[in-house]
Amino acid sequence: MTSIEVTLVTGRSLAQGIALEKGKLSEDYLKNVAVVELDENDLRRLGISEGDTVKVKTKFGEVVVKAIKSREPHPGIAFIPMGPWASLVVDPSTEGSGMPTLKGIHAEISPTKEPVMNPVEILRRVYNLTKKIPPMDPAEVVVVKEETKRIEKHVTCAFCGSLCDDLEVVISGGRIIDVRKACALGRSKILHAHENRILSAYIRKNGELVKADLKEAIRHAAKILVNADYPLLYGWSSTSVEAIKLGLELAEILGGAFDNTSVICHGPSIQALQEVGLVTCTLGQVKNYADLIIYWGCNPLHAHPRHLARYTVLSRGVYVKSRKERKFVVVDVRQTSTARAADLFIKVRPNEDYELLSALRMIIKGFDIEASEVAGVPIEKIYELADMMMSAKFGVIFYGLGLTMTKGKSRNIEEVIKLVQELNEWTKFVLIPMRGHYNVTGANQVCAWTTGYPYSIDFRRGYPRHIPGLTSAPDLLANGDVDAVLIVASDPVAHFPNEAVRHMLKIPLITIDPKWSLTATVSDVVIPSAIVGLECEGTAYRMDAVPIRLRKLIEPPPGVLSDEEILRMLLDEVKKLKGIGGS
């Protein structure tokens, strides 16, 4: 049978982001996430057409997904949206960095007759899960009828790191019926807020998840945590700062490990900052001043859809007023939809961003480059980009996981930071990471002011330590170091590499989440929570570290508390079990 060799890239897609709000076990999710985007040419080489199933095989595993044609040509590159399918074939090794390699992996693709497994089948057949998966509550939340219709303005959207705070939400009958100004992702999150909800606490008894009283579930969870030798508390990027604070206190008292999801997104950015610093600004500075905007290794039209219009290329600033006055460059391994809108697209060979960044630094320092191309980019184009950078009045590079998840990891980021630092010899230049989850920046901030470290924190010795590669969640799980896990507002069973998931399924698991996630379905204790920014308030930090308040707009489902309230109860219970007075 024919097979082709490709470079595999995984990450967020718009369709994945929208579908996940309907639930990981929904048809929509399966349809939009169990896919591989292939170039038209590559489909032809395989002798298949769109919709056929293919087997993707890497050194680390294999998975069957449906092939779809990529909208933009990218021969030799295969894209699988992040999710349980992608997780089976990514490289789990963090090479001591805490960050698995999730992009730029060598893969082989061949046609197959095998069917695509749904997430439950993956758990059963790949991970040999024996725990029973509950028949989930009918997703709809029943709400108390409220007659009046009202419109809430200046609402902050709690989906991505852009934290757009100008939404208008129409509420009627105690439920949100419309959202204005939001992008497709935000709209999906807000309009589907009442779907796929967990409406009661659950405890697993004899292999089966059964409904339980909230207090009983909290007592049970506290017992699991206190009895564990070394528990891990993970997630935290999609909840409020207030909840994260309590999570840290809990980890400290338990002598466990605490990690937030930045470990598998911008952890390398933080490691680079620790080494060399950073030159950055808030998004308003970009809007008002920037005449050169570069997106590197990110696809904002899919992951941060309003970014261009609100903050960058298309925004109206004080000194730079329109698209015409701004130059717009995209650097990526494939021509994404963002790249198609750019003035200049630079296609870099996968895993060679470091080389391209080094070439730019050399040119800016006045060195000559003898090679005719670097990282697959003709040298003339690199000179052109360097010239654009040096002659900008105010330049900015936004970079995404295309730099942090590929070969080199934090070294790529160090290189781009140094490039920007050096560009300041010539002109004003700044760098802003495109943070994914709406409060992942906040999670880093709280962790840093509480412990001195932004993520991957260990409290085993009674004081905070931070050793990525050792105290980072993917490593702690893959190495089998932890013996119980508390997950707050995250779904590692869907998004962590193979080996980490295997260990997670062997140990007691507690999940606090508003919605049924894969992790929740396999947990031993499940506690439902309110959605921050809709059903309870709290603070979150935008990607540029601007803190914005999230408001409460509607009542949570009956009996459902906020993460903050749940964690306070859990903390009190743990203190009680450990015989610690006060609160």
Binding site: T282, T450, R549
Partner: protein, 566 residues
């Protein structure tokens, strides 16, 4: 809780008490008449042969907020080296020496007998962050000053000479972000830094595109500050900080507002050491301490804090972003820079002060010289501009250096010789006494912050913030036994905060949470200026005005101080 502190040597400058043996009684968090105490129930502390003072007040230390936290993240090495362990039910854990995490910041202040601290530079847009950190600093009372020198709305008002509008806006802004006072850092620099310019901006240089100079900004805002009757005078970090020859700039800045007041302090020049340099280059750096001190001794409208350096590693962090960029070129290690839209900028660069380095040694001398040459201790306060000159945990050392010429000589033995030849310090004999130290670290900052009714003294009705040091001033001469004084100051025998014993024998025994002071207008302002500000917001900002305002309940323990209005 009721406490009676018996027979201590009490130093309470505001009430003119100079080491008299007295009893101090505490009830419900306040100082009361000893007769009001029920001796059956009260905890009695025998302070015989010990020093009793009000809790220390730090008028300027970068302890919380966006740039402090960036500093923590960048200074990984600091956090690996220094930590405090969890004591369940008593205190939290933390790491860091010169960029400590929030909990241990509170504990370390308390261990030294300090009970109030002011975070001096918060950009309004990120002040919610500052408050979240202040909420997590235990024990001490706190407040934050708001960066306003490059705020485009304010500059617009000043440019249009609309002082009334400016006054209203500043009062609105302070209340909106729950700030305590007006802070200027290198006035106007952040405007220029948005185009990568602004290094070395002097008082009479233009701040384009406005038809303003830093002098106009200082003068205008000093007037606004005064007319609003804000509790704290205008808090200024002068232009050209850290650049040789900047002494002239500092003198001009002080003189720019001299006509506005002849008796009352209306301008506070912060970390003056960094702004008291003569010379045209680093190699011919000279001390401007005499000039600065002479000005302060002859003009009553200014006060100073030292910004003393100490040797070892520090983290420089300031809203003077171009300076940090320049320092990065000297220190060549790490540089973190941030701009905040329409408001401010900041930079962070780690730095190491060395005894054998000519510049560093002279800097060390200049800070002490100023403190020793200014005659009035009510107008010169101890700070290290933490963590710029040294961590705040060096205050005991600085207090002791001011009290002992012998100690100074001991340190000078190891300093760069050329620096000592240029310095005045070796020829200064003055030694502060305990009473004057109590002025500098307690009474004076309380008065300058406008908190003198309840803070900085031990009179009836004052907040029961008390420090007890295990040192007998009648037996030990600070000049000779400076090591014993240093040891006693480092770890208070007792620290009492709001009537609760929080430190005993130098260890934290109890965790309480202090108040956050902020300025609130007596009358409601919002509607009047909302329209105008909203228009400006849409143009300059990327957040909605409504989401910029910080609600009172976001502060752990808010304490409004009312000003203005009818």
């Amino acid at each position: 809780m009721e406490i009676l502190i018996k027979n201590g040597y009490v130093y309470d400058p505001m009430n003119n008490i100079k080491g008299d043996v007295m009893d101090i009684a505490i009830k419900d968090g306040k100082i009361v008449e000893p007769s009001e105490i029920d001796l059956q129930r009260a905890k009695v502390i025998d302070a015989k042969g010990k020093v009793v003072m009000p809790g220390g007040i730090d008028i300027h230390a970068h302890v919380a907020g966006p740039k402090v936290n960036s500093g923590r993240i960048m200074m990984l090495n600091d956090h690996y080296r220094s930590f405090m362990k969890l004591v369940p039910g008593r205190r939290r854990s933390g790491t860091g020496k010169y960029t400590p995490s929030t909990y241990i910041t509170g504990y370390r202040y308390a261990r030294m007998g300090w009970t109030t601290v002011i975070e001096p530079a918060s950009p309004p847009l990120k002040t919610r962050h500052t408050h979240e950190e202040l909420n997590d600093i235990p024990i001490v009372d706190k407040a934050c000053l708001i960066l306003m020198d490059s705020n485009r709305i304010i500059l617009n008002y000043l440019d249009n000479k609309d002082y009334e509008g400016c006054k209203e806006f500043i009062l609105w802004l302070l209340e909106a972000v729950k700030g305590y006072g007006v802070k200027l850092v290198d006035p106007g620099t952040a405007v220029l830094w948005s185009w990568g310019r602004g290094y070395g901006l002097d008082v009479d240089d233009p701040v384009e595109p406005y038809s303003l100079t830093p002098r106009d900004i200082v003068e205008g805002l000093c007037r606004v500050n005064l007319e609003l009757g804000l509790p704290h005078p205008l808090h200024v970090h002068c232009n050209k900080l850290g650049i040789p020859g900047n002494c002239e700039t500092t003198l001009k800045t002080m003189d720019a507002v001299s006509r506005l007041s002849s008796d009352k302090v209306i301008l506070h020049i912060t970390h003056v050491q960094f702004n008291a340099y003569l010379g045209g280059n680093w190699y011919d750096l000279g001390t401007g301490s005499e000039k600065i001190a002479k000005y302060v001794n002859t003009h009553k409208h200014v006060s100073l804090d030292m910004g003393q350096i100490d040797f070892g590693t520090a983290t420089t962090m300031t809203a003077d972003a171009p300076f940090e960029y320049a320092l990065f070129h000297m220190a060549r290690w790490k540089w973190l820079g941030t701009d905040v839209e329409a408001e401010a900028a900041a930079g962070i660069v780690p730095y190491k002060y060395r005894r054998r380095n000519f510049v560093n040694a002279l800097q060390w001398c200049i800070g002490l010289e100023i403190a020793l040459l200014v005659e009035d201790p009510w107008r010169v306060m101890i700070t290290t501009d933490h963590p710029n000159g040294a961590p705040f945990t060096r205050y005991p050392k600085i207090m002791t250096l001011l009290m002992s010429k012998r100690f100074r000589e001991e340190v000078m033995k190891k300093l760069n010789r050329r620096a000592l030849r240029k310095a005045i310090l070796p020829s200064i004999d003055r030694e502060y006494d305990l009473y004057e130290i109590a002025v500098m670290t307690r009474a004076a900052p309380a008065k300058l912050l406008g908190l003198e009714r309840t803070k900085g003294h031990l009179g009836i009705g004052a907040d029961a913030d008390v420090a007890i040091y295990d040192i007998n001033p009648k037996e030990l001469d600070p000049s000779r036994d400076y090591e014993k004084y240093l040891k006693a100051f480092k770890r208070a025998e007792y620290t009492i905060k709001s009537g609760e014993i929080v430190v005993m024998k130098g260890e934290v025994v109890n965790e309480v949470y202090g108040k956050t002071f902020y300025v609130k207008a007596k009358t409601k302002l919002e509607e009047e200026i909302y329209g105008e500000v909203e228009k400006f917001f849409r143009e300059w900002y990327t957040v909605e005005l409504q989401n910029y305002i910080i609600a009172e309940h976001e502060l752990r323990n808010p304490q409004p101080i009312y000003v203005g209005g009818a």
